[in-house]
């Protein structure tokens, strides 16, 4: 029952111990089950109750990983790993991706369009639970056999023999289904491009042609970051001490959040020397030096 026994059954071989003759699971697996199962149920409840979609997704990830652990305990290591790769690695990641795409902060509305639907839903779920537990615990239950014989040539080999033997048609069909689904997703999310795509080359060429008419080739100057004020809404100063308007981001300028340089003394500090040579812009000075 200790963690060492648990480890001995899962770590060194990667395979769980086999079933006892009476069909009961060994002690280590029992401990594992009672650790993992409550976590999984909590995760599932997290899906049901969490307000934010990302928290729900994380709860589902917990359930999926617990499921993978249980598969490994149930002598299905291949399925356990495939579970993590497929569900945790791809499906839930896709969910997170879509959540981020459609705005993760959109929390659920609790306005009922059908009155009483929530309570009916909860009642239906509870009823389902009771009925299914009745089904599971009732009925005749023969002693479990275990997969020792079926897994004799290692579990992936056993599964592969079935997939490519008995179930090969179903396998091909699922392949076709996957391709259809991928095509369907592409078609559903496809948007016709109405305007020509402007790439890096086109942008550069456009900048070059506009250069003569007051365009700019280089990025815009960065906003002023001074010891007194480090926000992006204060313009930088040019060598003459005058504020450069385009150094403040366009969005801030449009919203009217731009701030004046509030200290004339700073301008004064830079000002006098630069003021005398103010007729020389940096470009012409460089010409002179060369």
């Amino acid at each position: 029952m200790s963690a060492a026994i648990l480890a001995s059954q899962l770590v060194p071989t990667g395979l769980p111990a086999t079933l006892a003759a009476t069909g009961t699971v060994p002690g280590g697996e029992e401990v594992l089950f009672w650790v993992v199962a409550p976590v999984m149920v909590l995760g599932a409840l997290g899906l049901l109750f969490s307000r934010r979609a990302v928290h729900a997704a994380m709860s589902v990830v917990v359930v999926m990983i617990g499921m993978a652990v249980l598969y490994t305990a149930l002598e299905a290591p291949f399925l356990g790993v495939a579970q993590v790769v497929v569900y945790t690695g791809a499906v839930m990641m896709l969910f997170l991706f879509v959540l981020m795409l459609v705005g993760v902060d959109a929390s659920d509305s609790f306005v009922e369009t059908l009155r009483g639907q929530r309570w009916i839903g909860v009642l239906a779920g509870g009823g389902l639970l009771i009925v299914l537990i009745g089904v599971v615990l009732g009925g005749s239950r023969p002693a479990a056999v275990g997969l020792e014989a079926a897994n004799a040539a290692s579990n992936p080999v056993g599964v592969a023999r079935l997939v490519f033997g008995e179930f090969v048609v179903a396998f091909e069909l699922t392949g076709a289904l996957l391709i259809t689904a991928a095509l369907g997703a592409l078609t559903l999310t496809h948007r016709q491009r109405l305007t020509r795509k402007v790439g890096q080359r086109e942008t550069t060429e456009q900048k070059m042609t506009q250069l003569g008419g007051g365009g700019q080739l280089t990025p815009l100057p960065a906003p002023g970051v001074y010891a007194r004020h480090n926000a992006a809404n204060v313009p930088a100063l040019d060598p003459t001490g005058a504020p450069i308007e385009e150094s403040v981001p366009r969005v801030l300028r449009i919203r009217g959040l731009e701030r004046e340089v509030p200290w004339p003394d700073v301008v004064g500090l830079i000002g006098p020397g630069a003021g005398e040579a103010g007729d020389l812009d940096p470009g012409s000075r460089r010409e002179e030096e060369s």
Binding site: T24, V25, F33, M40, V41, A44, L47, L48, A53, A56, A57, V63, M64, M67, L70, Y71, L74, E75, A76, L79, Q83, V86, Y87, A90, V91, V98, V102, A106, D108, S109, F110, V111, G121, V122, G125, G126, L128, L132, I133, V136, L137, A144, V145, G146, L147, E148, A149, A150, N155, V159, L162, V163, E166, F167, T174, L177, A181, G184, A185, L188
Partner: protein
């Protein structure tokens, strides 16, 4: 402990998933509820595979996984395209025929 505890766990997860589908309004969360139901069905498959000593259960669980992946791809694509036209992922907002 016998293997039926795994089945009970699967049933609990299935019921929670079904309740999620019935109660929640966010299409993405509803979808995750469906995934939870599929997973609990898989757990039943794998448990019965061990119970009967037959790997066919595991193979079926494998197929369920593939089908679920295909379903998620299409479903999320539908959600994204609905979101593009209605700016919402609530299932209540998708019941209007005219936008």
């Amino acid at each position: 402990m016998t293997l039926s505890y795994y089945l009970v766990l699967a049933v609990i997860l299935f019921a929670i998933g079904a309740t999620t589908v019935l109660v929640r309004r966010n299409a993405i969360i509803v979808f995750m509820g469906v995934e939870l139901m599929l997973n609990s069905a898989n757990l039943t498959f794998v448990t019965f595979a061990r119970w009967h000593g037959d790997l066919a259960g595991q193979v079926l669980a494998f197929f369920v996984m593939v089908v679920a992946a295909a379903e998620v791809v299409v479903g999320l694509a539908i959600i994204v395209s609905i979101f593009r036209t209605r700016r919402s992922v609530s299932v209540d907002d998708a019941n209007l025929l005219k936008s």
